[in-house]
């Protein structure tokens, strides 16, 4: 890692301040986000906070997320875990459980995480049929097989909303939820309150 060089000041050292040093700034809330089987729209809606992201960056630090490039030794212990998408395969179940263990409060963000939504449409079909359609029958296929290398995770017979895999503390439905709703929920939580959602600030689509 590069270090910023320390510049030696040529000025006289300043006089000691008359007032006591200000209290240290409150510790930022530690946040981790992940997206499972979804479309990333909820994270994009989060990014639609636009300039409010700057305000948010003063209150929270995102230690782990698809949109940042954090490399910490293990998945960090955080205060809040925000999860988008539903559980479709073995890798995702593992990640989700890992995050649940390492966060104090878990938020299910978006319809896929809360209800299953579009990825759960495949629950009405046999998994085998979905794979055969995509990898054998599709009209543009010329060389076919069903992917089964160990590097690709196994799919479960049904996609499941995260609440059926781990305990969820806050659910924010929407496909995606509006940036304003995400802002409301986060600021309420930061103020120590559970966010109250209803027809004024919530949607199911």
């Amino acid at each position: 890692m590069s270090k910023t060089p320390v510049k030696k000041s040529t000025k006289k050292p300043a006089a000691k301040p008359a007032v006591a040093a200000a209290a240290p700034a409150p510790a930022k809330v530690k946040v981790a986000t992940m997206w499972l089987s979804g479309c990333s729209g909820c994270h994009m809606s989060f990014l639609d906070l636009d300039e409010r992201l700057v305000d948010l960056s003063k209150l929270v630090e995102i230690l782990f997320s698809p949109i940042v490039d954090t490399k910490v030794k293990d998945m960090p212990y955080v205060d809040v875990g925000i999860v988008e998408g539903c559980v479709n395969n073995t890798d995702q179940e593992h990640e989700l459980k890992m995050l649940r263990e390492r966060c104090k409060l878990m938020i299910a963000l978006g319809d896929c995480a809360v209800t299953g939504n579009v990825p759960a449409l495949r629950n009405q079909f046999a998994l085998k049929d979905c794979l055969i359609r995509a990898y054998e029958q599709a009209e543009s296929n010329k060389i076919c097989c069903i992917p089964n290398d160990p590097v690709v995770p196994k799919l479960y017979p049904k996609a499941r909303p995260i609440g059926e895999v781990v305990k969820v503390d806050v659910s924010i439905p929407g496909c995606p939820p509006d940036a304003d709703t995400i802002w409301f929920a986060l600021t309420e939580l930061l103020a120590g309150r559970m966010p109250q959602l209803n027809e004024k600030n919530m949607r199911y689509d």
Partner: protein, 473 residues
């Protein structure tokens, strides 16, 4: 000596779920590298049985970054089933939404996902090497990026009703007309957007000039290219015919109507990735590899129909007619932002843009329909088959990033060979291998009709599977 496999799991700052494995030979040199996409959702099956009018609402849930692309390709496939020409205003409004999307998606790709490497340094503190870090360390630049993306998103919201997953295009047209006030508001914000776009271009060109050796040979390899063009060969993003050209820029197939894509494109499946491998049918697999997206589109087109972007295209082509280094994707992306702004302005200044003549009936007449658009990341193909009641019988999707699958694999091999020399792993090496993927700005949600992300783990294993070295994110 034993052969070794390096696993990068997952790739970060891309849209989607992926792993990279790098296979070393006996001497510790890179033998092969693979880009594995690890998610699958099954859109091509679970749409069966639904009424075809729902397709423009289901398919955008493939991807939250470029839902508009799916909306439009889907609506066009449905239009083909309806068998009617949609009103001119509807076409213009759809294209306007598309321009908004190009602006926001390319801004996201450049500022939020890739610029941190360029502006903060490839080897800079990984904890800060992201959009939040950019906001902290280079706020003036970060804000420009945020505002440029915002302009694009606001354009989508104004025209289509919502930023992400608007329900706007329908079979037969669009369901919302544009008011005069809305048109004027968008025109008013254009000046600032143009400034940010030009700023980004200058920034990028400055980086190119300062890092010439690196950018000229980053994921650089010959390939064919695919993109939509207008009848005169100009760049086209919403409507148009398909053109393929080779590594020298010579045209292989030209002005192919989108409905004929099956005659030209085939797909292969590998057991180690959920993402399929499209190839030019006539050239076979894997020789028929081709690239799509901004780099490909600028290679394939003869010119750009708007003046500012066309001037930048000429600068882009100064060194050579066809660019093959993956790094040129970033530059091409920003030229497209300029085109999108200019094109949006043309559309907004057309007096018919506020007409309410935006729909024709949606009765299904034809048993199948194909809709093709140039999504930010490349050519997007939706192909539907219906019965006489409008019930979806079959779906085939070839999604933008999918076309780049072979190329991304090649890119990873190229960069891995250049930077992975020793058995000892360095963090910066990891980042560079991922960075070549970022050039393609992949949308793996789209490509596998799936999404996901995990922390990166790099493990160096010997032939017995014993972990020799570990680097974790």
């Amino acid at each position: 000596m034993t052969s070794n496999t390096i696993l990068i799991n997952p790739v970060t700052r891309i849209e989607g779920h992926a792993k990279i494995t790098i296979h070393l030979d006996a001497r510790g040199e890179v033998d092969d590298a693979r880009f594995h996409v690890v998610e699958f959702r099954g859109f091509e099956k679970f749409c069966e049985g639904r009424h075809f009018t729902e397709m423009p609402n289901i398919t955008p849930r493939t991807c939250g970054i470029c839902p508009v692309s799916h909306l439009l390709a889907s609506a066009k496939a449905c239009d083909a089933i309806v068998g009617r020409e949609i009103p001119r205003t509807a076409k213009m409004l759809r294209e306007l939404t598309h321009m908004g999307q190009i602006i926001q998606s390319h801004a996201l790709s450049f500022f939020h996902l890739s610029a941190p490497d360029m502006l903060l340094g490839w080897d800079s503190d990984p904890l800060k090497r992201n959009i939040m870090g950019l906001v902290e360390q280079q706020p003036a630049i970060a804000v420009k990026g945020v505002r440029l993306r915002k302009y694009g998103q606001e354009m989508i919201k104004t025209v289509a009703g919502r930023k992400i997953h608007p329900d706007f295009p329908v079979p037969g047209g669009v369901n919302k007309a544009l008011t005069i006030e809305q048109r004027d508001t968008m025109l008013a914000g254009m000046g600032e957007a143009f400034e940010h776009a030009k700023f980004a271009l200058d920034l990028l060109k400055g980086y190119h000039a300062a890092n010439l050796a690196e950018v000229e040979d980053f994921g650089c390899f010959d390939s064919n290219y695919m993109g939509l063009v207008q009848p005169d060969g100009a760049l086209e993003l919403y409507d148009g015919n398909i053109r393929f050209c080779n590594a020298k820029g010579e045209i292989i197939h030209d002005q192919i109507p989108p409905s004929k894509y099956l005659d030209y494109v085939g797909e292969a499946v590998e057991p180690w990735s959920y993402m399929k491998f499209p190839f030019i049918a006539r050239l076979g697999y894997p020789h028929g590899m081709y690239r799509v997206g901004p780099l490909a589109r600028l290679n394939v087109c003869s010119h750009i129909s708007t003046p500012l972007a066309n001037a930048e295209l000429k600068v882009w082509r100064e060194k050579r007619r066809v660019q093959s280094s993956s790094f040129y994707y970033h530059w091409a992306r920003l030229i497209e932002v300029l085109y999108a702004l200019e094109r949006a302005k043309q559309l907004l200044e057309d007096p018919q843009i506020t007409s309410t003549d935006i729909l024709v009936p949606n009765e299904p007449v034809n048993p199948e329909g194909v809709g093709v658009v140039e999504a930010p990341r490349g050519t997007l193909i939706h192909h539907y088959w219906v019965n006489k009641d409008g019930r979806m019988e079959k779906v085939n999707l070839i999604v933008s990033t999918g076309h780049n699958n072979l190329a991304m694999n090649k890119g990873v091999q190229h960069v891995a060979r250049k930077y992975v020399k020793a058995k000892k792993l360095k963090e910066g090496m990891l980042n560079r291998v991922e960075a070549v993927i970022r050039c393609y700005d992949p949308c793996l949600s789209c490509a596998t009709h799936a999404v996901g992300k995990m922390p990166i783990v790099v493990e160096l294993m010997d032939a017995d599977g014993t972990v020799v070295d570990t680097l974790r994110k």
